[in-house]
Symmetry: C2
Subunit: 280 residues, 2 copies
């Protein structure tokens, strides 16, 4: 596995692959890789001839400096995992390579960045779309893979790709869960054993909602009340939002009459977790 | 000369050129081509193996709907001129191809977009950087050529290219002038014969400023007073701004001790003209 730190070297590598007729598949990550990331890398090996994985903890997408500082990192393990999977290139630029002095540009997707996480993390998606646009210009992929655990991020990035005419395909892959249902996240490492148990209420709330819909319940207000009760019933949790919305526009719905996104963000102690499920 | 209207066809054409090892040079325009544009096309033929010229009057960069409506167009003459110069592709998308329903993304360069024209045309550079980012992803050029008549635009686009890591070269070409000194602009067509004469005061003010500096004057305030007097001395003119600033950062200077950008925007009747010169 080749490790590339410089933008220009990354661009020349991708140019050479394209010139040789190879299809480049790309998995952008913030590192501290778990099985969710690894499933994206495996899918990338199917989607392309060569696979690039980037690791960059992007300061621009953290609305709280404390969250950025606390974000877990393990470069050595990440390298080992990616190498074992047969990744071709680990692209690992540092912050001064990504945001040199004088940097002043942003990419913004206006509507679908507003609700859900966008409403609670000001500037978050602006940071995401900016860094992803930069990474696309660095890696020049034919396909880029993202996990549906960050469902809104997938919607926002697909919109950016369409709107700015990036000539590549976005592949959204299903959320990978622990055996007990918790969605995999690098942030799970920050949960205490007791919090780890408490956090199951989030996936539990998604299941409860699906059951209600299965029983014929259509009213969003009723379903969301059950979601809130399930999460707030646990000590040490704080529901940030629960929303039933259109999976394409992210506009809230009053009735669940089609496949509908149930998106949840909740704090367990000092750790913010998100999860979602398309129900209906 | 091939005429392409669809984004996907443009991308496939450029892919084929790149695959064949050809260097793609690109001149983005809003049409109604004059000698300034044509000088860019000639330079593009030197800079690349194949030349793409786009014509798209971009509604997003007009802050006034009336200016957009009044912007002159002559598709037939544009086609003839480009064909005569040996342009390979005229890329001419329509507005629904560029901004389809649901469009909601913008690219913004924060600092260098603020002063000068940015201060007087809210949203103008946001529209410029967005459409140019889109065009870069459509045409995939190795080099793109812009005229220095729009000096701030050149600065803003260079900044965007650096910040978002577009893998291409920006070539800024000198302003082309009429025999009497008026900077060429599609908007000149809207001047009456009397206004056409009046408009010479703008290039005259740039020359006056250079003469003052040549005589040893260093104080920006003194130079700008002479500029204002030259333009305001003419009936039917209104100076929008005159600024002496750093050619890279566009920050205003108090003394002209290095090569310094003198940028002017002035109204002659209902027509807004801009011009500039690096003096010192």
């Amino acid at each position: 596995m080749q490790i590339i730190h410089r933008v220009s070297e990354m661009q020349r590598w991708s140019d050479a692959q394209r010139q040789a007729g190879k299809k480049v598949a790309f998995v952008p990550t913030m590192g501290f890789l778990h099985e969710g990331h690894l499933s994206l890398v495996r899918a990338a090996k199917q989607a392309g001839d060569v696979v690039v994985v980037s690791i960059f903890v992007n300061p621009m997408q953290f609305n709280q400096q404390s969250d950025f500082a606390a974000y877990p990192r393990d470069d050595e393990q990440d390298r080992r995992l990616l190498s074992e999977l047969g990744t071709d290139v680990l692209f690992n630029p540092d912050a001064s390579e990504m945001y040199p002095d004088g940097y002043q540009t942003a990419v913004e997707v206006e509507k679908v960045s507003q609700p859900l996480c966008g409403a609670h993390r000001p500037g978050h998606f602006r940071g995401v779309t900016t860094v992803v646009a930069k990474l696309f210009n660095m890696v020049k992929p034919h396909a880029a893979l993202f996990g549906e655990k960050d469902f809104q991020q997938c919607v926002v990035i697909k919109r950016m790709v369409t709107d700015l005419n990036f000539d590549l395909e976005i592949v959204a892959m299903p959320t990978v869960r622990e055996a007990d249902g918790l969605a995999m996240s690098s942030r799970n490492a920050r949960l205490s054993p007791a919090q780890r148990q408490t956090s199951l209420c989030i996936a539990g709330a998604l299941n409860t909602a699906q059951q209600l819909v299965g029983q014929g319940e259509r009213r969003a207000a009723t379903i969301l009340r059950a979601v809130r009760d399930t999460i707030s019933g646990q000590d040490g949790t704080r529901l940030e939002y629960a929303s039933l919305c259109d999976p394409d526009t992210l506009e809230e719905v009053e009735k669940v009459t089609r496949p509908t996104l149930l998106a949840i963000a909740a704090w367990v102690g000092e750790v913010r977790l998100i999860d979602n499920r398309v129900i209906g």
